[in-house]
Symmetry: C2
Subunit: 138 residues, 2 copies
DNA sequence: CCAATGTTGTCAAATAGCTTGACAATGATA
DNA sequence: TATCATTGTCAAGCTATTTGACAACATTGG
C-alpha cells in the first residue's frame, strides 16, 4: 500500500523547509543556497528575504546530487547526472503511460496490454517472477 | 514505482516544519499547537521554545483528524477514529507480515503462501483481478 | 437556560531560525 | 601559479515560531 493510498496525501504536494531538508538529507543549508544560486536546484519561488521552501521534486534532485557528490563527482557533473536520470525516468513514464492500454488476459493469466506492434499485439506478462514481452495475433 | 524506490528516500525519515504542514494540509498553526497540547498529535521532541517538527506518521494523523473534523466530528472523536484506523492498519500489517511465507505457484500461477490452516495450506491468488483464498493439501 | 468546556482566531513580546553578503580556506583546473 | 569551484563561518537584519493571554463562538452537562 503506497503512502498516498494510505494517507490520502499526494507526494507532489509535500513542502519542506531548508532546515528539514538539511537534516533529512545531511546537506548543509550553505550547500543548498549555493547549489540554488548556481542553478543546480530550485526552491519554490519566494519573495526576497523570505524562507526557502522545497517540493518533493527538489528533494529527489538534492538526494541525487548528494549521492553523486559523495561518489566523487564534481557538483556540475553530479547535477548533470541527476538531470539525465530524471529525463530518462520521465521518458519511461511518458512512454509507458502512452502505450499501456490496461490489463487483459492471456491463457488465464493477467497480461499488460501494450497495443499494436508489427501487425501483432504486444503484451507483458510475469512468468516465474520474470517480466516477459509477448507478441500475439489480435 | 514507489517514491522510495525512485528516490532512495525513506518516507519515515521525512521531517516537516509547522508552516509546511499548515500549508500542505490546510490546518492552522494554532490548531496544530492546540491538538498537540491536548495530546491528539505529537511533534518531534524539541527543547522549550524551539520550533516544532513533524514526521510522516504525524502528518498522516493530522490529515486524518482534519478529514474527520471536516465531516463534522468533534476533535476528540476525530482523533479517536484516526487512532483506531492506525491500529487496524498496524494489526493488518503485522498479521500479514507474520503469515506471509513468500510467493509460490499453484497450477502455474503465482500464489501467496499464508502457511497452515486446519491441516491444510492457505494460499492467496488473483483470479480475474479478484483476490481469492485457496485451501490445499500440502 | 446557565455555567463550564472545547476549539480556534488573534495579538504581543521574546527568541529561534533564515537570508544575504562578505571573507576565508581548500581543492581542482587551466 | 592564477583562477575558479565549493563550502564553512560570521554578522546584521529580517522572518517565522513560541508561549501566554484574551476573545469569540459552539457544544455540553446539569
Amino acid at each position: 500500500m503506497s503512502f498516498k493510498e494510505q494517507s490520502g496525501i499526494d507526494i507532489d504536494q509535500l513542502i519542506f523547509g531548508i532546515s528539514q531538508i538539511s537534516q533529512m538529507l545531511n546537506v548543509s543549508p550553505r550547500q543548498l543556497r549555493y547549489w540554488e544560486k548556481r542553478g543546480y536546484i530550485r526552491s519554490l519561488a519566494q519573495k526576497d528575504g523570505q524562507t526557502r521552501q522545497y517540493n518533493a521534486k527538489a528533494v529527489v534532485r538534492i538526494v541525487g546530487i548528494k549521492h553523486f557528490l559523495d561518489e566523487g563527482y564534481t557538483l556540475a557533473a553530479a547535477a548533470d547526472k541527476v538531470t539525465k536520470f530524471a529525463q530518462q525516468q520521465k521518458m519511461l513514464h511518458d512512454f509507458v503511460g502512452q502505450r499501456f492500454q490496461g490489463v487483459t488476459e492471456i491463457a488465464g493469466q493477467p497480461a499488460l496490454d501494450f497495443g499494436h506492434l508489427a501487425d501483432q499485439h504486444l503484451y507483458g506478462v510475469m512468468q516465474q517472477g520474470r517480466a516477459e514481452f509477448k507478441l500475439r495475433q489480435d
